[in-house]
Symmetry: C2
Subunit: 234 residues, 2 copies
DNA sequence: CGTCCCGTTGATCCCTATCAAATGTAGTGG
DNA sequence: CCACTACATTTGATAGGGATCAACGGGACG
């Protein structure tokens, strides 16, 4: 488990002892955007979706949480409230602690703080990657990348190909990539025709990962003028 | 200075003593994307632009660094290399330390690590805000927000209005908002006609902040179907 | 076995990228 | 001080990717 790496067994026991177990059914929220961030969590089992809603009601999927990951650490960054809602997309199991104990944890073990910094750093990195994609890439590329990321994170090998092992809709993909469910549907239908994927209700199976990677990297040998100009200005 | 908040004076002296001063002329890079992240920095004076270039040569402006801010802390997040280039847009002055000393700093003062976590957390927050904007808002709104953020961070009150107190081009704004310099130019020309801003070469003055805020919040009383649908699905 | 939700697909429209070219402005060297 | 150059900005014309609007099909679950 990432967060507790290199923590002495004794301390680990003590910490686990103070944890509260939290069982979540599909649709349940571990916490909701705007609530006081009074606890932080580690996911043991299942999958969660982190969602932000804009002032005018649009949703954005921030990320999916897989087992072993920490979430809800707003308070550690000195944020009083949770910036997003975290909702189970599967039957899930998590541990949680009061946010106030965070400092105790870090005081007890220096690595703990460093690990947290690394975790948040990784997320920052991911966020910047996404900003780059949203700024410069076409929808099809972004959808391809999003799916590749998902199979990378939670892919299961099956006879027909690699399947994303939790339920996910076109709408979800759309909210991850800044587009609409319609466009996602069209794109994936085209892929299905070309034999790249098989997909059904809340289910995506990737048959030809290589081709998908090629799509994600975009049209080669065809730098847009915009790119060329930027290159010159460097 | 954010990073060194609540550090005893004695320690602060010791730390400052080991710092290397770094003077940057316009266009100089403190470091470049991909280089080994062997130092981290604090900006004393001036303004820097953090830029990422995509594999196909497009640029994205990650953020602007103002005096007092830390930058180049990739190593603290266990990244071996800098994920972006940081370039002076003005004559600037910075301090730097070897990345290897980071751990010494954190060991000496627990607050130090917490402050760093907070800083990175804030950046993560900002990045998510930007993702949200890129995903759901129109170009004009995004440009308005970008400029509001800039005057919030580095605005100078002048007789004609609030001016962004470092040189910035339409191209820069475009790279911050995921659009083209042409579109930015058109938008700002329209604003100029309406008396919202005055702008010249590498210079932007906001006359009517309130109106700009109204623009940034988008068309009220007119939720798009997309937003309405998302609202229902909640 | 009906209802709800998810997915698919067509038609249309509009925002904005792209292409093209002119104008304006700082800086530079003679 | 002025021509010259490089770069920033503006503005028009055009095209196209995707959002929007609309309607239907189909599997899951009660």
């Amino acid at each position: 488990m990432d967060l507790f790496r290199s923590l002495p067994d004794a301390d680990l026991d003590a910490i686990l002892h103070t944890a509260q177990v939290c069982r979540l059914s599909v649709g349940d929220a571990a916490f909701r955007q705007g609530e006081v961030a009074d606890r932080f969590f580690v996911l043991l089992n299942g999958h969660l979706k982190v969602v932000q809603v804009t002032p005018d009601g649009e949703q954005v999927v921030v990320r999916y949480v897989s087992p072993g990951e920490v979430f809800g650490i707003a308070r550690a960054m000195r944020r009083p409230d949770y910036p997003a809602s975290t909702i189970a997309v599967q039957e899930s199991l998590a541990l949680s602690w009061p946010s106030t104990e965070w400092d105790q944890f870090t005081a007890k073990n220096l690595h703990f703080a460093a690990n947290a910094l690394q975790t948040v750093g990784q997320r920052l990195q991911d966020a910047h990657t996404r900003i780059q994609e949203l700024s410069t890439e076409e929808v099809e590329q972004r959808v391809a990348r999003a799916i590749l990321r998902l199979i990378d994170q939670s892919g299961q090998q099956t006879p027909e190909g690699i399947v994303i092992d939790f339920p996910i809709t076109r709408q979800d993909i759309a909210e991850m990539t800044g587009t609409t469910l319609h466009t996602v549907s069209r794109i994936m239908s085209a892929w299905k025709d070309r034999g790249l994927v098989t997909s059904g209700r809340k289910r995506i199976v990737v048959c030809a990962v290589d081709d998908l990677i090629r799509l994600a990297e975009g049209p080669q040998q065809a730098p847009t003028p915009r790119a060329a100009r930027a290159k010159l200005e460097n």
